[in-house]
């Protein structure tokens, strides 16, 4: 059973009277625990695919399955619930809540998820922040941290709720190459340890090299689907 299955997914953006097809009848599936990169040049549809898989957007046509359940026509509140429990996000620009500390940012998804005692929650947050190397930065606000540190917080925030998959849209685009590599190594390490599926978009060769599977898009179609060992 695949974790995600896309069947003939199309997405058309309407800009005034002109229709712009971003995805054209795309089909593929992703298994649990994959470390997958969606690659391709700018405008090829990478972000659109991530948005649809991440339940932030709905396809214009086609069917999206999560754990073999069709979620293409779910309502916005149902999609919010799927995001809350099953999906973690890592953004290019980190997108942490500026008024909260690193600790509070990471704790936030757990609070949204609910059903956990405060003490257990705090232990879990401390544990994961230590794991991403931010033990000494827990009580700093994002403005007091470097880009690399902020992205580590974002990874911890995405991982803490133990989602089925983590989606990362160009996670290293705002980092220098050293920090970018460290972040990818951290993601890979987490993928191996927790068996969480990681799907990230990129057009950077170095980032693609980390992926165990690369789906390359071109003009809204799948151009290549390469698996590595």
């Amino acid at each position: 059973m695949s974790l995600i299955r896309l069947e003939n997914i199309s997405k058309i953006y309407k800009t005034g009277k002109v229709d712009f097809p971003a995805l054209k009848e795309i089909s593929f599936s992703i298994d649990k625990g994959e470390f997958l990169s969606i690659a391709g040049p700018s405008g090829s549809g990478k972000t659109t695919i991530l948005n649809i898989i991440g339940c932030l957007d709905k396809p214009s046509d086609g069917t999206l399955f999560l754990n073999d359940t069709d979620i293409s026509s779910k309502k916005s509140n149902e999609l919010a619930n799927i995001r809350r429990y099953n999906i973690g996000f890592i953004f290019q620009t980190f997108n942490l809540i500026p008024i909260l500390t690193a600790f509070e940012n990471v704790e936030f998804p757990l609070i949204l998820k609910g059903n956990m005692k405060q003490k257990d929650r705090e232990l879990l947050v401390e544990e994961i922040l230590t794991e991403v190397g931010l033990k000494d930065f827990m009580y700093r606000k994002p403005s007091e941290m470097s880009g690399g540190q902020q992205q580590r917080v974002a990874i911890a925030r995405a991982l803490i709720k133990q989602p089925q998959m983590i989606l990362a849209d160009e996670p290293t685009a705002n980092l220098d190459s050293k920090n970018g590599k460290e972040i990818l190594q951290l993601m890979l390490q987490m993928n191996k340890r927790t068996n969480t599926t990681f799907i990230f978009s990129t057009h950077d060769r170095m980032v693609m090299d980390f992926a165990l599977r690369i789906i390359t898009l071109k003009d809204g179609h799948i151009h290549r689907d390469d698996k590595r060992r």
């Binding site: 932030l56 995001r83 999906i87 996000f89 997108n95 809540i97 909260l100 998804p109 949204l112």
Partner: protein, 423 residues
């Protein structure tokens, strides 16, 4: 819920300068609201107190038909032997004192000066238990039922330069049927001057002993009114006693009607009602401006935090939760702004209640306008109650929450993808 509250609380203080400006608009609006209510309540309270305690007392009994003609001060609609009713009236436990009076039209003449005025003939022993005229004497002594003599308002004395000990001529209008006016002129000594604080009383009233007036007008033992003073100014007491007296006098041979101070001061009450309505409109405009400030602040927050809202949606926050977050922020602005407004209004209100405000500070013209509308002179005092502060506080918070609904709804309408792309 607690996390949303915590987040909302911190968000309020993100843009400190803007928040301070919003707090200020809310607090100044509410502060002015409290001060206005404090002044209006104070004016009403002081006016009503002056009307009751220096002018009308609580209830008056007139011969049927007198009330409709009262502006003509008729002397042909009188109550005979009023003392016969005293015992019956005093049976009501809330009745404190009863006296009979005659109101008559008069002129005060000194040399070439003649000043029209209202003559009040009262019982010198009972009147001080009902009205505050004796207590407000600023010169001389109170009238004596055995001696000829009168007390007059200090303002009136100033107008034609009179003082205690002066002998003046009073021209008493004894009948005014049709165009035929009859009068009686008498010389009398001014024994005292009073300053009751009620300009309508102090500027045109002369007070003489009842027996003296009955002789001068030649109406025997008749009076134009019986004045009833109650144990308190409470409205329920007033209405209940009025109804009770109405029933008593319905069955008497002499047709007598009962009127409360409210019936006698209907013009003042009408002005007060109009003033309350117009003040409410001004206050609503002020609060509308304050709420525009809140809407503006919240819309700015939605715009500035668009990407963050997108991120919160991506984390799985539902539209209702996003809405709550912004409504909580509005509520916090309301709570802090209202607290500050209540503090500001409360302090000024407290000052107005304790120290008062001199009417003359606004200039002579305003003083005259104010005195025409209100039976108050010199200093007026505010009246601030905890209820006013509490109601204003709640009102401020509710207005703020309502003002935040539109921006909050706007936030929930954001598309998460577009929001995440927002720069």
């Amino acid at each position: 819920m607690f996390t949303l509250l915590k987040l909302a609380f911190r968000n309020v203080f993100r843009a400190k300068k803007r928040t301070i400006i919003t707090f200020s608009s809310v607090s100044v609006g509410l502060g002015l609201l409290i001060i206005s209510i404090c002044l209006m309540n104070g004016l009403d309270k002081q006016s009503i107190s002056n009307i009751i305690h220096s002018q009308t007392s609580h209830l008056k009994l007139f011969k049927t038909g007198y009330f409709d003609k009262k502006d003509e001060i008729p002397l042909n609609k009188t109550i005979q032997n009023p003392e016969q009713y005293y015992a019956k009236i005093k049976e009501h436990p809330k009745v404190k004192e009863v006296e009979s009076r005659i109101l008559f039209g008069a002129s005060l003449i000194k040399g070439m000066d003649e000043l029209p005025c209202l003559g009040v003939a009262c019982e010198p022993e009972s009147d001080p238990k009902i009205l505050n005229i004796k207590d407000s004497l600023v010169a001389g002594t109170w009238i004596d039922s055995k001696k000829s003599g009168m007390v007059i308002g200090a303002d009136m004395a100033d107008d034609i330069d009179l003082k205690v000990g002066d002998n003046v001529t009073i021209r008493i209008i004894t009948s005014s049927k049709g165009e035929d006016l009859t009068w009686n002129a008498l010389d009398m000594e001014i024994v005292g001057l009073f300053n009751s604080g009620n300009p309508a009383v102090d500027s045109n009233r002369i007070i003489v002993p009842l027996k003296f007036a009955q002789e001068a007008i030649s109406i025997g033992n008749e009076v134009t009114e019986i004045v009833v003073c109650l144990t308190n100014d409470n409205e329920d007491t007033l209405e209940e006693t009025k109804t009770w007296l109405g029933k008593i006098f319905k069955n008497t041979d002499e047709k007598i009607e009962v009127y409360s101070w409210k019936d006698l001061a209907s013009t003042f009450l009408a002005i007060s009602k109009t003033k309350t309505k117009s003040s409410a409109i001004i206050i609503m405009i002020m609060l509308f401006i304050a709420s525009i400030g809140i809407i503006n602040t919240m819309l700015m927050a939605v715009l500035e935090r668009t990407r963050e809202i997108g991120m919160l949606m991506a984390l799985g926050m539902k539209k209702r939760e996003i809405m709550n977050l912004f409504v909580f922020e509005g509520a916090f602005i309301g709570i802090f702004g209202s607290l500050l407004g209540c503090l500001l209004g409360g302090l000024v209100g407290w000052y107005l209640e304790v120290k008062g405000w001199s009417i003359s500070a606004f200039g002579e013209t305003y003083e005259k306008i104010a005195q025409a509308a209100y039976p108050i002179k010199d200093v007026f005092y505010g009246d601030l109650t905890f209820n006013v502060l509490l109601t204003t506080f709640i009102f401020g918070v509710v207005i703020s929450v309502i003002a935040s609904l539109y921006p909050a709804r706007k936030a929930t309408k954001l598309n998460p993808i577009e929001a995440l792309r927002h720069i």
